[in-house]
Amino acid sequence: MTIDANTIRHLSEASVSVELQTEDMTLNIGPQHPSTHGVLRLVARVDGERCFDVAPVIGYMHRGYEKLSEVRTYPQITTIVNRIDWVSGYANEVPFIVAAEKLMELEVPERAQYIRLILTEMARISSHLVFNASYPLELGAATPLFFALRERERVLDLLESVTGGRFHPNFNRIGGVKPAYGSGSNTRKQPQDLPAGFFAETRDAMDKVLEAVDQLEDLVAGNEIILARTRGVGILPPEVAAAYGVSGPNLRASGVAFDLRKTQGYLPYDRFDFDVITAENGDCWDRWYVRLAEIRESVKIVQQAVDSIPSGDLQAKVPKVIKVPKGETYVRAENPKGEMGYYLVSDGGGGPYRLKIRSASFSNISILPWILEGILVPDIIAVMGSLDFVLGDVDR
């Protein structure tokens, strides 16, 4: 068949003369969407395949923890803060407990601090493994999920063996960690320590996690589709990230070597050798890479801590009814998702006068209107997934 040039010209002229109706469409994404780890709604103006003026609508999971804290006692609040970022529940407790201990001027026994540190790093490994499971899945690669969740289960089993809980350990006590009492006539009075065989199992599990991290890297880093969908997509410059308060792996992926574990001293991290992982470009790929590589660093910390944990008490001497002296302090910690902090105002009573909860995901997703501006609709999932947020941590 030959193409008649005249016909083509005729057609193209005709199409120019017709007034095309180009109207923007408003697209509602959510409130339910599998890639959001909670309930989030996005309202976007879509022009063809590009979206503009993205407005996240949050609050579907708002539970009012700051108000609830004002009518609760300090030991009760650890139960609440566990549920802020439930993917790493243990890590949420630590800065709150440290803030209360700071006002009480308590010296926490070394062993308790080491146990807190080991469990915090386990929470970080487990949180980053969830990201490494779900992010490739959101991009269409199902296999890494099984590798990552298998290892996460190993870590959660260890957490459970110590604390009794997988997601909400509620294991920290003001002055230390929870001593376990047995029910036998002898063990009732002797607080139990870590479960038998914990160190051997931890060493074993950490070796296996390292192996799995290598496997995950092979699986994902060699996948051309994932590379094509993440390289150069959703670039976040460091100065924009800082102005929005984006913290944690998302900030380090933009090239800022800032880690509160190195600067704050809320747990004895200065005794361990580990690197702050950064990347250069701040795109989705870098955010994936930083979280993968941070698992290796956390494994390094756990291995060193297990080898050097001192013996001693699990709790400082604290009164049975806890009253925190008058004062104000802000304690922040490097949680898996970024900076988590508590501004604690006490008036000398059994509960706080005011507790401001600074959660990482809230600031991390406040960047969404900026980072999604003019992006392709299919890239929304790639960018949102790479920010690794939990809606419980956004809404509080």
Partner: protein, 198 residues
């Protein structure tokens, strides 16, 4: 504010606190390793510009408020009477040494208003919306001052101390005892062996 032992000796953060206070034109206090600089409301926006541009405090951590009130509807009342006010606070940090400063100013409890920081730190947008709905603070010049968490029709400012907590109104807690006593026996004074926290 109460004094803490850390204030008597020279605190490692004292030099940083003095430097910030001088640059932004406020007064510094250190409580339990937290540097707070008190400002006049007129200096609010300018102090943040100075902190960002001259002190390298580029990281906007959070913005929130405290309702200092003598009458509270939920929770414990203060032991001493305070001057009723809304204390507005922001936390700014550098991204090198981990130094953090809390900038704070006082607003009247009735109709608190202050210029918005969105032009200085873009991240203030959501935090100010949260403070707007939770405390009723009007941020002048905010581009989109609408509710963040709560439904549009919600009335009241939940984190104000005058806002009651409904569940506590319906059933006060902890009542007389956690578990109601059996009718024939009064509550035993012996400590329970079942629950060491009770």
């Amino acid at each position: 504010m109460s004094s803490s032992p850390s204030e008597t000796a020279t605190h490692p953060l004292q030099e940083f606190a003095d430097r910030v206070a001088e640059a932004v034109g406020g007064t510094a206090e250190i409580q339990f390793d937290t540097v707070k600089v008190r400002l006049a409301p007129e200096n609010w926006v300018q102090a943040h510009v100075t902190a960002r541009d001259q002190l390298d405090l580029v990281f906007f951590s959070w913005l929130s408020a405290i309702d200092w009130a003598n009458e509270v509807a939920a929770g414990d009342t203060l032991n001493e009477e305070v001057e009723e006010r809304i204390e507005l606070m922001t936390a700014l940090s550098d991204l090198t040494d981990g130094n953090l400063v809390v900038l704070s100013t006082d607003l009247p409890t009735a109709n608190p208003a202050i210029p918005s920081l969105v032009g200085v730190y873009a991240g203030a947008n959501w935090h100010e919306r949260e403070a707007y709905e939770m405390f009723g603070i009007d941020f002048e010049g905010h581009p989109n001052l609408i509710h963040l968490y709560l439904p549009d029709s919600f009335v009241g400012n939940p984190l104000r101390k005058s806002f009651p907590l409904l569940s506590r109104e319906v059933k006060p807690w902890p009542g007389t005892v956690d578990v109601e006593a059996m009718p024939e026996s009064s509550r035993s004074d012996e400590p329970s062996t079942e629950n060491p926290d009770a």
